[in-house]
Amino acid sequence: MTSNYMTGAEAVIKALVDNGVEVIFGYPGGAVLPLYDALFENKKIKHILVRHEQAAVHAAEGYARSTGKVGCVLVTSGPGATNAITGLTDALMDSVPVICLSGQVPTHLIGTDAFQEADTVGISRPCTKHNYLVKNADKLCEIIHKSFEIASSGRPGPVLIDLPKDIQLTNVKYINKTQKIKKHNHYYSNVDEDLINKVAKLLLQSERPIIYAGGGVVNSGPKASKLLTELVNLLDCPVTLTLMGLGCVPNTNKNFLGMLGMHGTYEANLAMHNCDVMLNVGARFDDRVTGRLNAFAPNSKKVHIDVDKSSINKVVSVDYGIVGDCKEILSVLVQEVKKLHNQKVLKSKTTWWSKINKWKEKDSLGFKQIGNNIKPQQAIKSLYEKTKKFDTYITTEVGQHQMWAAQYFGFSKPNHWMTSGGLGTMGYGLPSSVGVQIAHPKSLVIDISGEASFLMNMQELSTIVQYKLPIKIFILNNEWMGMVRQWQELNHGSRYSESYTSSLPDFVKLAESFGINGLRVDNINNLEATIDEMININGPVIADIRVEKEENCFPMIPSGAAHNEMILSSDDNVKDTSNEGLALV
């Protein structure tokens, strides 16, 4: 079968097609020219030319997170690969399945400091789930098939495959993807029914239960979100979501308390602090969520469901750890709860709910929109109201605008919210929105941005224009690196060291220079009209929303404080941050 022989580059592309890749985000260069040559003839994979390799990875992340598929990236050797590192680290921290193909100098030149040579596998080792340097062309196909398995199984993550140029040019025999690639030993679901039965009893008999869920539920697929919502309704217990988990229980669910953690709602954090049983589904007790650990939910029994065994007992000791995929564990748990439900063992939660409702009365997300200046919170609220009726996907950058988006935008479905949680990468949102819009060409995709974050990857405007992506860039422009400014105000005596974004471009003219629409609004009375106009424009838009410059993001758990030590506004009697707290980020 001569047709099974082809160049390494052709084999790579064929292997991608066999693994279901339809889109690849990349940037060409010397060490990947054979791959680009193979792509040139290929009709099955659409290549999206980004303007920076970091953006290629973020775009692939946006694609992956909004579809549940594996995102795919192609970059050249040396600077191409090093530029991709931030994106790969971001994907690792947020458990996003991404395959990154990088070019490498030919095998005989490796180690000679050749032009555009970098030790890519060495550099990317700690920021990928796994990586390969293909030195033997016979292993090429197998490695690519296996990489897809690794990236998407268990706790998903990025896999990098470094491809020396001579391997891309060698003649290889194509090997098909075998039906069953042996799974890595340690990604297993431990559906221990006895244990799950115990947990079900614990939940039913608890007086003050809470469910706290995260990105693991989203990664497990839409079924996991449905099961989680079903469980919440069955137990009639409060549920709170992490930044990564937003959308896996609809925001309209009456038991949903909003996001928890550093900028979570008062009721969510207080309910966490006062619960007697906590069920953590697919979240990892991140420091943004727990606050001070020695005061974290002090009198509770804790149950943790996670696909990654190392997440269990990493920072918080739990009473029951269940290793497994959320949807598999939840489906058994829901069954068990239903069984026991019929025996009427469910404890009444009236007192618990009346407590929670008291905390809700604090209205921790309340703000006063007075005067003509636009409050950033109002901007997000109005954006949500105006876009509710569409299938809207939101991406964000990192900072105050990100937190306001998480607080004031409502998500009714999973996979509609793409934000950089673990790594906190400014510049994530714009390229990520490229990936989302490519995956969902008919949907409304909005990058909620801050002016400082936007500047970090704004070269992607060029990509957006090239592919006619009707992305709406909603910049909450306060001329400050807002979150840095806020911390400097709260922790560093208002010494605003280097946090002012001076020399900003005229965003309307910037849009026009790319041939797209730019809008600007600085008066609350025109906000809604501007949002309408933005949505109605059939094409990309930069909306420069001039907001109140020194607005702070509240409520807030100051660093080093516990859930019950939240501050609700600047007027609160704020204790000075502890010395330990000052050392925290």
Partner: protein, 183 residues
């Protein structure tokens, strides 16, 4: 104590001996060591060699130190590394043997030469190389025995030491054969 310190009971750190079966391929050791340095764990001793040519497997014997929560975390983290197939906690499993080999060069003249040989005999060290002004001794056994021997040699003259690190295996008739077959 940091405010984000792990919420665990005050517990002493203990020394643990882990035995890993890994793919013998470039980068595997870097992944294991990178995990320890990246996450701030200790390595007290490390020993790596291929043990199965057909299946291309190596064993890493590793001595680390930590509270039981940290050790459990280390083991879980190690298992996330794709080329790591088996992680055994020998300290937890039961009785096991720890052994190490040291090569010790001693530069010595005069009366101390006799003393050096006498000590070597007491420790059952083998003499691998002799010149009129030096010896090279080979000694195997527990790390503490090696420490004692090396300290004595240092008091006799200029020394140079090369040690393999601890190699460990469990006592009794249990083997890993079945586990290896599943790889």
């Amino acid at each position: 104590m940091s405010v984000y310190q792990k919420n665990e009971l005050e517990e002493d750190e203990t020394s643990r001996t882990l035995s890993l079966i890994v793919d013998n391929q470039p980068g595997t050791l870097a992944r294991v060591i990178g995990l320890f340095s990246g996450r701030g764990y200790n390595i007290e001793s490390l020993n790596v060699t291929e043990i199965d040519k057909i299946r291309n497997l190596s064993r890493i014997s590793l001595v680390t130190r930590g509270t039981s929560m940290t050790i459990e975390q280390i083991k879980s983290q190690l298992l996330r590394i794709i080329p790591v197939h088996i992680v055994r906690d020998l300290t937890l499993e039961g009785p096991f043997i720890k052994s190490e080999l040291a090569l010790v060069k001693l530069v010595v003249k005069g009366a101390n030469r006799v003393e050096a040989l006498r000590i070597a005999e007491t420790f059952r060290a083998r003499t691998l190389d002799v010149t009129l002004s030096s010896f090279v001794f080979e000694l195997t056994g527990k790390p503490s025995k090696l420490d004692a021997f090396i300290n004595l040699m240092r008091s006799l003259g200029d020394t140079e030491v090369s040690r393999t690190g601890v190699s460990a295996i469990s006592r009794g008739d249990k083997t890993e054969t079945k586990l290896l077959d599943q790889i």
